[in-house]
C-alpha cells in the first residue's frame, strides 16, 4: 500500500535547494541588469516645488532619471496609465473617501518614504550616488501623525477629505445600546494597540525584462499575488495581458505586506525595462522597507459591554479608530476584520461594531499576518478579563459561559465578513479547546505556584486568550494536475508561496488523490506561465483553497486514468485502484507486466493518440489497445488528449479555525523586565495535512506575537519621521526573546470543503497581545490596556499604580463587589 501522505509530517520538498544556497530569491536573478534606486520624500507632508537633477547628470554609470512628468509624457505619447493614481484594490461603499498614490509623487508627498524620483544606473551603488545629487525642493506642510491628531483634524492629510475620515462603517445585530443599558452590569474599556509591520527578512523587489522581438514582458516580483500583478501591469502599461508573464520566485517571507499590488515599483520597473530595452531590477533595502512599504495594527478602541450576574454578555458596543496611513489602496479589510472577528468564540448578545478609518501622514496600513484579528482579539479578551475581575470569577469560567457550543454550529453572527459573505462559523468545539489548554498550562494549579513564587519575592502571572479566525476566504483558487509520460506528476496553482511549504503540502494532497509516491509530484506556485487564474496568498487560505482545488483536479485526473486503464485492462473502472503509481485490479497481487496492471506513465502515453515512440513508455504502450473503432475520431468529442485536468475550488464562505493560548510570565519587581516562562497553544484548524508545517506556522506566529506584544512598534515623531527605521531600533525578537511553544491540537473538520481543512497561517500571532496583557495584569494586579508594553512602560505604570492613578484589579484589592473600576473605565452596577 502507498502510505497515506495527508497527515504525515514529511520533510519539505523545497528544503534541499534552500539549505544549500540554491534558492532563487528576487535579487538572485538578473545578474547584469540595470539597477534602480529612488529619491524618496524626507518629509511627511509637503508640496514638491521643483526637482533639480543637474548635479546628477555627470555621474558615471547613470542611465536614466524619471519623475512624474516623464510618466505623464509617456501616457500622452502612448496608451499607458502611469500618471493616474494607483488602483483602489478593494472598494467598499463605506469607503467614501478613498485615496491612492501616484507611482511617483505628482505635486504632493504624504509620508516619509513616498517615491519621488526613479534613478536607473549600472549598479545600485551608482544609483544611490545619483540620488544623493538630485535636489528636490519642498514646501513643508503640517503633518498629521497619530490617531489623536487624525481625529482632532486640526490639519488635514488630504485637503478635500474632511476630518481625515476615509470611512465610517457600522454593523449591528440587535439593539446593542439598549441591551447594554438594560443589563445588570456594565463596563467600559479604552484600549490601544500600536503599529508594527510584517517585516519579512527579504524586502520587496522587482526585476523586469522586455523581449522586443517577441513583444513579451516578463516580470519577477517578490509578491503574494502574481496573477493580480500581471493584470495590473498589463492595464497600467497597456501591454496585451497575454504578452505579460509574472513570476514570484522564491520569496523570503511576506506576512501580508507583499499582497499589496501593484506597488509603485511593480509598474515602474517594467516600464523602465520596456522604455530602455534593457533588463532592470530594483531590490528594496531595509530602510526603504521601513518607510515605503506598509505597516499595520495601530488602533484605538472603546468597548462597552452589558452582562448578567454570571458574566454572560447581553450587549456589546465596539468602536475602533483605525489609522490607515496616507492612502487606502487595500480598502477597509483590516478594520472590517477587527470589528467582526472581535467576537471570537463568543455569543455577544446584541452587537454594534463601528469604525472610523483615518488618514495620517504615515506609511500605508495594509494587512499584516492576523490582519486586524489581533486587535479584535485584544479588545474581546481584555473585556472577558474585566468581566471576570468585576464579578470575581475565574477568567476561564466567564469565557466558558459565553462560548458558542458545538451543537450550535453552524453559528450565524448575522454580520458581514471581510469576503462580503455572512459571518457564519462552520464548525468548532471551543469548550474542548479550553479544557485542553487548561490541562496543558496547568491552569488550576497556577494559583499555588504563584503563591509560592510570591513567597520567594517573585512576581508571576498567567493569562489566556481565545480567538476564532476566518480562514480560506474565496472567491476561488484553481489547480492544474498532469501526469507526464514519465510518470512524473506536475501540479501548478496560481497563488504564491513565501515559505509555508506549499510545494510539499500540495504534493501530499495530490499524491494521496492519485495514488502516487509523493516524490513523483512536483508543484509550481506563483508562475503565471503555468496558471493564470488565482487570487493570492493571504488570509490563511492556501491549504483550504489551493489544497481543495488540487484535490479536485487530481480526482479528475484519477477518473480519467481509471477510464483509460479500464479500457486497456478490459475491466470495469470501479474494480481498479491506483497504488504507488500503478493502476491495478483490486485484490490481485502485483505482477509487473501482467494484464492486471498498468503504470500511470503508460496510461499517460495512452491518453494521447499521437504516440511517437520516443521512450520505453511509449513503446510499452503499444501492447494496449484503447479507443473506439476506426470510424470514430481519435480524440472523442468529450475528451482531450493528455492525462491532465484543471479544477477550481470556490467555497460559499470562509471556514473558521480557532485556538486558545496561555502564557505564564514573570515580571521583575525592580527592573520591570518581562520574562515569558511558558507559552502554550491549543489549536484547531480541522484536518492536518502536514502537522510539522502547521506546527512551524504556529511557532512563527507566536514569535511575531511576542514581538508585537513586547518589543515591536513604529515610533513616529510629531513631524512624521519614523525614528526606529532599522533593525537596531525596531526590535524584532531574536531566539533569546522567544519562548519555547508547547502545542496541542484538536481536529474539528470543516464541513465546507472536501479535505475538511481550515487555514493555519495566521493563527499563532492573533491572541499574543491579549495573552500577555492578561498575564502581565495578573502578575501586577492592575489591568494593562495598551500594547505593546516595554519594561520602561511597565515601570511607569507601576509608578502610576503606586500613586493611586490606576485602580487595582478587584481580585487583588479584596473587594469583589461594590465600587471598582477597570482602569480608565467607567462602569456601574445595579
Amino acid at each position: 500500500m502507498t502510505t497515506r501522505m495527508i497527515g504525515e509530517p514529511i520533510p519539505r520538498r523545497e528544503d534541499p535547494r534552500l539549505v544549500t544556497g540554491q534558492g532563487r530569491y528576487l535579487d538572485d536573478l538578473g545578474a547584469g541588469a540595470l539597477q534602480v534606486a529612488f529619491v524618496r520624500s524626507p518629509h511627511a507632508h509637503a508640496r514638491i516645488v521643483d526637482i533639480d537633477v543637474t548635479d546628477a547628470l555627470d555621474v558615471d554609470g547613470l542611465v536614466a532619471i524619471y519623475t512624474y512628468e516623464d510618466l505623464a509624457a509617456a501616457d500622452e505619447a502612448g496608451s499607458s496609465h502611469l500618471s493616474e493614481p494607483l488602483p483602489l484594490l478593494i472598494p467598499h461603499p463605506d469607503l467614501t473617501h478613498p485615496r491612492t498614490a501616484y507611482p511617483l509623487a505628482r505635486d504632493e508627498v504624504n509620508h516619509v518614504g513616498e517615491p519621488v524620483v526613479m534613478v536607473v544606473a549600472t549598479d545600485r551603488y551608482v544609483a544611490e550616488d545619483v540620488c544623493d545629487r538630485i535636489r528636490v525642493n519642498y514646501e513643508v506642510l503640517p503633518a498629521v501623525v497619530g490617531l489623536d491628531a487624525a481625529i482632532e483634524a486640526t490639519h488635514l492629510v488630504h485637503p478635500d477629505i474632511p476630518g481625515n475620515i476615509g470611512a465610517h462603517m457600522v454593523q449591528e445585530r440587535g439593539d446593542a445600546r439598549a441591551a447594554i443599558a438594560a443589563a445588570p452590569h456594565r463596563l467600559e474599556l479604552d484600549l490601544e494597540i500600536e503599529r508594527s509591520a510584517s517585516m519579512p527578512m527579504e524586502g520587496r523587489g522587482v526585476y523586469a525584462r522586455w523581449d522586443a522581438d517577441d513583444r513579451t514582458l516578463r516580470v519577477y516580483t517578490s509578491t503574494q499575488a502574481a496573477t493580480s500583478v500581471r493584470a495590473a501591469i498589463a492595464a497600467k502599461l497597456a501591454v496585451p495581458i497575454d504578452r505579460v508573464e509574472v513570476i514570484a520566485p522564491d520569496v523570503g517571507g511576506g506576512f501580508g505586506v507583499k499582497v499589496v499590488h501593484p506597488w509603485p515599483e511593480e509598474v515602474l520597473i517594467p516600464w523602465a525595462a520596456m522604455r530602455l530595452g534593457r533588463e532592470v531590477k530594483w531590490t528594496e533595502d531595509r530602510r526603504e522597507h521601513f518607510i515605503s512599504s506598509a505597516h499595520e495594527r495601530g488602533q484605538k478602541q472603546k468597548v462597552r459591554v452589558g452582562f448578567d450576574d454570571d458574566g454572560r454578555l447581553l450587549g456589546m458596543e465596539f468602536q475602533v479608530w483605525h489609522d490607515h496611513g496616507a492612502y487606502t489602496p487595500y480598502g477597509l479589510i483590516v478594520p472590517i476584520i477587527t470589528t467582526t472577528q472581535v467576537l471570537g468564540p463568543y455569543k455577544p448578545g446584541a452587537y454594534r461594531g463601528e469604525f472610523w478609518s483615518l488618514y495620517t501622514n504615515t506609511v500605508i496600513v495594509t494587512p499584516y499576518r492576523g490582519a486586524g484579528r489581533p486587535q479584535g482579539c485584544f479588545a474581546m479578551e481584555r473585556t472577558m478579563d474585566a468581566i471576570a475581575d468585576y464579578l470575581g470569577l475565574d477568567r476561564t469560567v466567564v469565557r466558558e459561559r459565553n462560548f458558542i457550543q458545538p451543537e450550535e454550529m453552524p453559528y450565524d453572527h448575522g454580520l458581514v465578513f471581510q469576503d462580503g459573505r455572512g459571518l457564519v462559523y462552520d464548525s468548532g468545539n471551543y469548550p474542548a479547546l479550553l479544557d485542553k489548554l487548561k490541562a496543558l498550562v496547568g491552569w488550576d494549579s497556577f494559583a499555588e505556584y504563584a503563591e509560592q513564587a510570591r513567597a520567594e519575592g517573585r512576581r508571576v502571572g498567567i493569562g489566556l486568550a481565545c480567538y476564532v479566525e476566518g480562514t480560506g476566504v474565496g472567491p476561488y483558487e484553481g489547480a492544474h494536475v498532469r501526469v507526464e509520460t514519465t510518470g512524473e506528476v506536475v501540479v501548478a496553482t496560481g497563488l504564491t508561496t513565501q515559505g509555508q511549504g506549499h510545494q510539499t503540502m500540495l504534493a501530499q494532497i495530490v499524491a494521496d488523490e492519485l495514488g502516487v509516491p509523493v516524490e513523483r509530484v512536483t508543484v509550481t506556485t506563483g508562475d503565471t506561465r503555468r496558471f493564470k487564474y488565482a487570487v493570492g496568498t493571504f488570509a490563511s487560505r492556501t491549504a483550504v483553497m489551493s489544497g481543495n482545488a488540487a484535490a479536485l483536479a487530481a480526482r479528475k485526473v484519477r477518473a480519467k486514468a481509471l477510464r483509460i486503464a479500464s479500457e486497456a485492462l478490459e475491466v470495469d473502472p470501479s474494480d481498479l485502484e491506483i497504488v504507488d503509481g500503478v493502476v491495478r485490479v483490486r485484490g490481485v497481487p502485483s505482477s509487473p507486466g501482467a494484464k492486471t496492471e498498468i503504470p500511470l506513465s503508460t496510461v499517460a502515453v495512452l491518453s494521447n493518440p499521437l504516440r511517437y515512440a520516443f521512450d520505453a513508455e511509449a513503446a510499452r504502450a503499444t501492447q494496449f489497445a484503447v479507443g473506439g473503432s476506426s470510424e470514430e475520431p481519435p480524440v472523442a468529442e468529450d475528451d482531450e488528449p493528455g492525462l491532465e485536468a484543471v479544477d477550481y475550488y470556490s467555497p460559499p464562505r470562509s471556514t473558521f479555525a480557532a485556538g486558545m493560548h496561555a502564557a505564564i510570565v514573570e515580571t521583575d519587581p525592580e527592573t520591570a523586565e518581562i520574562k515569558v516562562l511558558r507559552y502554550c497553544v491549543v489549536h484547531d484548524c480541522g484536518n492536518l495535512i502536514n502537522p510539522r508545517i502547521v506546527e512551524g506556522q504556529i511557532h512563527g506566529g507566536v514569535a511575531q506575537g511576542v514581538g508585537g506584544a513586547l518589543y515591536e512598534r513604529m515610533v513616529y515623531d510629531s513631524a512624521g519621521q519614523l525614528l526606529n527605521a532599522s533593525f537596531m531600533d525596531f526590535l524584532m525578537p531574536y531566539a533569546s526573546e522567544v519562548p519555547t511553544v508547547e502545542t496541542d491540537h484538536l481536529q474539528t473538520p470543516s464541513p465546507l470543503n472536501p479535505l475538511g481543512v481550515k487555514g493555519a497561517g495566521e493563527a499563532g500571532v492573533i491572541p499574543a497581545a491579549a495573552v500577555f496583557a492578561s498575564a502581565i495584569s495578573d502578575a501586577e494586579g492592575f489591568a494593562i490596556t495598551r500594547m505593546p508594553i516595554s519594561p520602561s512602560e511597565l515601570f511607569e505604570l507601576r509608578e502610576r499604580f503606586a500613586a493611586g492613578e490606576i485602580p487595582p484589579l478587584r481580585s487583588r484589592s479584596g473587594h469583589i463587589s461594590g465600587e471598582g473600576r477597570f482602569v480608565r473605565a467607567k462602569e456601574d452596577s445595579r
Binding site: G21, G23, R133, P200, D250, G252, G700
Partner: protein, 184 residues
Amino acid sequence: MTPDRGPTEQTHDISLTVNGVLRQARVPARRLLSDCLRHDLGLTGTHVGCEHGVCGACTVLVNGQPMRSCLLLAVSVDGSEITTVEGCTDPDGSLGPVQRAFMECHGLQCGFCTPGFITTIAAYLRRNPNPTPEQAREAIGGNLCRCTGYQNIVASVLRAAEIMREESGDAGVPAAGHGRGERA
C-alpha cells in the same frame, strides 16, 4: 554630501578562497563582501537582509570565523578564506550535517535567513560539539528569523551535533539530548 566621484571609480584586484576555490575579482573599494560574493562571484546563497549588521542573514565564515559580510569591505578581506552556505555541504556535494538537520527538524520556512544560520551553526559546532538546548539557543542568538520562531532551529542545532557525532563514530552519550520543550 557625496564626495566627487572621478570619471571612473578606482578598483582593486582581490583574490579570495571561497569554499576552497581561489576566486578573483576586480572591485571598487566600497564593494561590500556580501555584494562581491553575490554579484561578482555569483554565489547568491549569501543573503542580504538589513545591510547594517543586525539580522545575520549575510553571515559567512572568514578564516573560519562567522562574520557579517555586509559589514566587511571585500577589499579589506583580500586574501582570506571564505565559507558560504554553498560550502557547507559535505565534500561529495551532498547535504552537510547542519543542512540535513535543518531539513529534518523543519528549521526553515522561507529560507531567506537560513544561510546565515547554517554558517554560524557550522562554525559553532566545530568549537562546541555537545551543546545543551540552552547553549544551542545562545549559539543562534545573533541571527534574526521572521518565520520559524527559532524553536526548530534550536532543534536543528542539536540534531546537527548529533549527526556530527554519529558521523565521527563517537557513540558516546550526548551531553545535550533533546529537551522536550525544544523539540516539542
